[in-house]
């Protein structure tokens, strides 16, 4: 479980996060939603330990972030950031293999290529293995970045809880790959993973997320089960968009925006 306790983060006079207390449990996909500049990426940075909150604390597995050993933490949680530029001619296989950097090679060598191959297959990037990363399209690069993060935690002890934090991983993906990715994350969550994902697409969140955190100007507007977070009223309040939730024949809901 990852939890934040009254986390606030301030840069100069700007309050990027105010009094955020949320918890994300293993076994669920948690969507972070909110308008541009609401503090979604900042929250991910706090959850990952990259940034120290000005006030409050973050803990993973009930252990406060500052007591975690960095290498140890890297074997439990992986992060996909928004910027995935690599300034050097690495191949896709090399980038994905970097997910194993936290591990001592002797422990993983025997099955490391199997893990890498398996993850690359799952993200549909195996056929790109020999290509130079810089020559890929934005969406392909994004899938490679996710594959790298997945290798990082897939190499870990499967008994332990693992955490995957993704900052807008679907931004450049085509329709099919968006759904493939979320389906895969959803099934991963059942294998002792907690998945935290920033998405803008309300319908993707409705379809795949178990819980949600709705942010507005650095404050948590609503958090909890996704059906309670993404109500027409909340969406209208936070995004200023009117619409209705339509019940689908296949189950679940879809949000339709009025003109």
């Amino acid at each position: 479980m990852i939890e934040t306790n009254n986390v606030s983060y301030q840069v100069g006079a700007a309050k990027l996060l105010t009094d955020v207390s949320v918890e994300i449990s293993v076994g669920e996909v948690c969507a972070i939603l909110g308008p541009n500049g609401a503090g979604k990426s900042t929250l991910i940075r706090a959850l990952s330990g990259e940034m120290n909150p000005s006030q409050g604390s973050v803990s993973i597995n009930k252990q406060e972030m500052k007591y975690w050993n960095q290498k140890e933490l890297a074997m439990h949680r992986a992060v996909v950031t928004q910027f995935n530029q690599v300034g050097f001619p690495f191949t896709v296989a090399e980038i994905v293999s970097m997910g194993l950097l936290p591990y001592k090679l002797s422990n993983t060598k025997s099955n490391s290529t199997r893990i890498i191959e398996d993850v690359m297959q799952r993200l549909d990037v195996l056929h790109l293995a020999e290509r130079l990363y810089g020559t890929l399209s934005g969406g392909e690069q994004q899938r490679v970045a996710v594959a790298r993060a997945l290798v990082q935690v897939a190499g870990a002890d499967a008994e332990k809880a693992r955490y995957l934090l993704l900052d807008e991983p679907t931004a450049s993906l085509d329709l099919k790959h968006q759904h493939d990715l979320l389906k895969m994350l959803k099934s991963l969550s059942k294998e002792n993973y907690a998945i935290v994902i920033i998405v803008h697409d309300i319908n993707l969140a409705l379809q795949y997320a178990d819980s949600g955190i709705l942010l507005e100007q650095g404050c948590v507007k609503k958090s909890g089960p996704i059906s309670e977070v993404l109500t027409c009223e909340n969406i209208n309040n936070v995004f200023g968009v009117n619409g209705e939730l339509i019940e689908l024949s296949s189950g679940g809901y879809s949000f339709h925006v009025y003109h």
Binding site: R45, S48, E50, Q70, K71, E72, L73, A74, M75, R77, A78, V79, T81, F83, N84, Q85, V86, G87, F88, P89, F90, T91, A93, E94, I95, S97, M98, G99, L101, P102, T113, R114, I116, E117, M120, L126, A129, E130, L132, Y133, G134, T135, R148, Q152
Partner: protein, 359 residues
Amino acid sequence: MNTLSESIANRHRQRLWTLIILAIGLLISLIMGLAIGPLQIPATTVISILADLINPFVERQHDHVQETVVQSLRGPRVLLGMIVGAALAVAGACFQALFRNPLADPGVIGVSAGAATAAVTYIVVGQQFIITLFGYAPVYGLPISAMLGALLSVYLLYLFANRASGIDVATLLLAGIAVNAFCAAITGVLVFISDDQQLRELTFWTLGSLARAQWEAVLPAFLWIMITLLILITRGKALNALALGEADAFHLGFNVQRLKQILILFGAASVGAAVALTGVIGFIGLVIPHIVRLLIGADNRYVLPGSAIAGAGLILLADLLARIIVQPTEMPIGIITSILGAPFFLYLLRKRNLIGLPS
């Protein structure tokens, strides 16, 4: 159809072989560097003189002049060339990783100029100043000044180019222009106030030369540079992680702040030591890591040792050229590396995606 594990294993083998071939090339350059010059010495003689140095129990009769030329004139010179070439090339690869920019080179971004200006300042005014103050000149005053100058340059560049979103490449290169211009101005002032003897020294600093190699200076420098190189070359994994971005390297469990401190400190130490010995030899730190990446890819576990070997070899060949094209005098080696390096730099700008720059 190759499986992933086969292709990874193939690539590994291929890179090892490339390193071995580079090392053989270095050995050949070394023998050429010892053999060729105003006095031509057959390669076989050079090898047997070298063998005697390594194994003192076998006494072979050598021509005395040839032996002296190899041991006392060309010996320190080729060793100096090799350590300076390796230091510049590895520092170049490290700065490129630190600034996450394949065009960062100690010469281009002004680190070498910072070292050289500090060294020149020391010669023209600093040494005299310290002597008046303490009554004696410190033993390693010159190399220490050069290293401090290099350190100050990298640190300044880093302060300017580092933004919350990462390193700003345009700022880095523009700040490099400013540092270079400032250093040129200082050197200009020093040229203006220096006497004839000092003026000759200044030419040496700005154009670079291996001509001053003597064992007394080369041996301590050899030890120093070997230590800094060892520290830098073993950072391959961390530099790979850093290529993904500072945040990503942190998420992979690396202590990014410490890594950057090590790169700045020891990168500056190698460049400073190299400049203190030979003056400014440009473009080695830019050209060599790129040639190596074209040969074996971007994986820094191979790029760093490959750069050390290839940098050492290229300097030996450039020095050979510097010695023979205008016999009986010699051309400053910095001129040769710049004549070859500057067009290569332009070529890299054209082939952007080959080196990983967005086109």
